[in-house]
């Protein structure tokens, strides 16, 4: 396809760097660089009481913020509109799709569950923020290790052991790919900040490596010719495959570690 310029793996040669365990005080963390865009994600697990009708579910609460170091346009203060949109995107991805089971976070139904607070901070904003955020969240969730927990029968409070061997099972790895539409005709995968500002429109395809579609989000701008969608989907799926294998390589574990599912 001559019209679609650039894919994750080939022509644009954008490097993706994943560094897991960057934050030693967090239960799970990952630093991700997609090209120049840098996002760090830290996950802390805290005890929570499962709510009313969802007594066997835990919580995963994402929060994305843009640090003033990332760009001259970002001012200190409450999260900007851009940050809130990405926070909501991640929250929808977790709640409305089944790539992760919140039931796995339940320790004892109705009494105790894990609440995972995922804080993402953008350190360098050079376009395609959603892509980097999703990869950072997936890597941090994959590398997360929680201690074993149970409810103490005498006190009714939660208590943890000193081990760190409980991990969360991910059913799928949905990866977001941003495309910029230039002149309504040319598609640019992974646009940088400068490219995004020049493109008349952009859209985000969230796909997993097995071809499932988790999102197709386009917000106004120039029209997207629907006959080009299959080629964009192919690029997005190829990228999802490459990112998944990268995450697997980074977070490879020995067999002795138990997952939450089996315990």
């Amino acid at each position: 396809m001559d019209k679609i310029v650039g894919t994750y793996c080939s022509t644009r040669k954008l490097k993706v760097l994943i560094c897991e365990g960057s934050i030693t005080t967090a239960d799970g963390s990952a630093l991700v660089k997609v090209g120049n865009t840098t996002v760090i994600c830290g996950i802390k697990g805290e005890f929570a009481v499962p709510g009313g009708d969802k007594s066997n579910e835990g919580y995963i609460v994402p929060n994305f913020e843009l640090s003033p170091v990332s760009s001259p346009h970002v001012r200190p203060g409450p999260p900007s509109e851009e940050a809130q949109v990405i926070s909501h995107f991640l929250s929808d991805l977790i709640k409305k799709s089944s790539f992760v089971n919140v039931e796995d976070l339940c320790i004892e139904a109705g009494k105790l569950a894990w609440a995972l607070y995922c804080d993402l901070v953008c350190l360098d904003s050079d376009g395609s923020l959603t892509d980097a955020s999703v990869i950072a969240l997936l890597s941090a969730l994959s590398s997360m290790r929680l201690p074993r927990a149970q409810v103490n029968e005498d006190t009714g409070l939660g208590e943890v052991t000193d081990t760190r061997d409980v991990k969360l099972q991910l059913n799928d790895f949905p990866v977001a790919t941003t495309f910029g539409l230039f002149d309504g005709v040319y598609g640019l995968a992974d646009p940088s900040n400068e490219e995004e500002s020049l493109c008349g429109a952009s859209f985000i395809l969230t796909t997993s490596d097995n071809g499932l579609l988790f999102g197709c989000n386009k917000s106004g701008g120039a029209a997207l010719p629907s006959q080009d969608l299959p080629s964009y989907m192919t690029i997005a799926v190829n990228r999802a495959k490459a990112v998944k294998s990268l995450i697997d390589t980074v977070c490879r574990d020995s067999d002795s570690i138990n997952s939450i599912r089996s315990s």
Partner: protein
């Protein structure tokens, strides 16, 4: 496979420059437009109008979800409004949800378009929005109710231009790619119903105005 009954009421509010109430079945949204008018200096754009959207949910305080919805509506309206005709001005759109029974985002987009038409803001066309829910069984439902949305595997919203091109799209959930294309084609044909509805409601509104003018002329002569 069809939409629920659409209804729309225009010029219902007295203070604003234009307003509309749009209903998809029980889902009802009121949109009010003020503009083109003054803009705050920090939001001024020298060659275009600034579009500001405020979304008020039926209950509760606005949060991230409402901000994300405002961004989608702002970008959608910017795609069709001829902003270069009103530089250094603002066009403010305020939406209030009266009842949410599913398909809220398409109802909001449609309410915005009709309210903008009522105001007389120059536009290059309309955005006709429709939602499609794909159930766990694989069945596609156009214009789903709240119950259908909550039990669905995925809910897709599309906003089409006059030429049936995708201006806006929003999806939550997960489906196979083939389901996406079939949902897109169902939504595209359903959007034509919305487009015809815009046209007929514009004709009704203008014919009422024409009748009033004719009566006035009769009285004079």
């Amino acid at each position: 496979m069809s939409l629920r009954s659409l209804s729309c009421e225009q010029s219902l509010l007295a203070r604003c420059d234009g307003s509309a109430r749009f209903k998809h079945g029980e889902t009802s949204v009121v949109a009010a437009v003020y503009g083109p008018g003054d803009v705050k200096p920090n939001k001024e754009i020298i060659n275009k109008a600034t579009i500001e959207v405020t979304f008020k949910p039926k209950t509760g305080l606005p949060g991230c979800a409402e901000t994300a919805l405002e961004k989608i509506l702002q970008d959608t309206c910017e795609a069709v409004i001829l902003t270069s005709l009103h530089p250094r001005s603002s066009i403010s759109i305020i939406l209030q949800v009266e009842h949410d029974d599913g398909s809220l985002l398409p109802c909001c987009i449609n309410a915005c378009c009709v309210a903008l038409m009522d105001t007389g803001v120059p536009m290059r066309g309309f955005v006709c929005a429709v939602a499609c829910a794909v159930q766990q069984s694989g069945e596609e439902i156009i214009d789903p109710t709240l119950e259908q949305e909550q039990s669905a595997a995925a809910v897709l919203t599309f906003g089409f231009s006059n030429e049936s091109e995708i201006i806006t799209s929003h999806m939550i959930g997960q489906i196979a790619q083939e389901k996406f294309y079939s949902a897109l084609s169902f939504a595209s044909s359903a959007a034509k119903t919305v487009s015809d509805f815009y046209r007929s409601s514009a004709e009704k509104k203008l014919s009422k105005e024409l009748h009033v003018k004719e009566r006035v002329n009769e009285v004079k002569s």
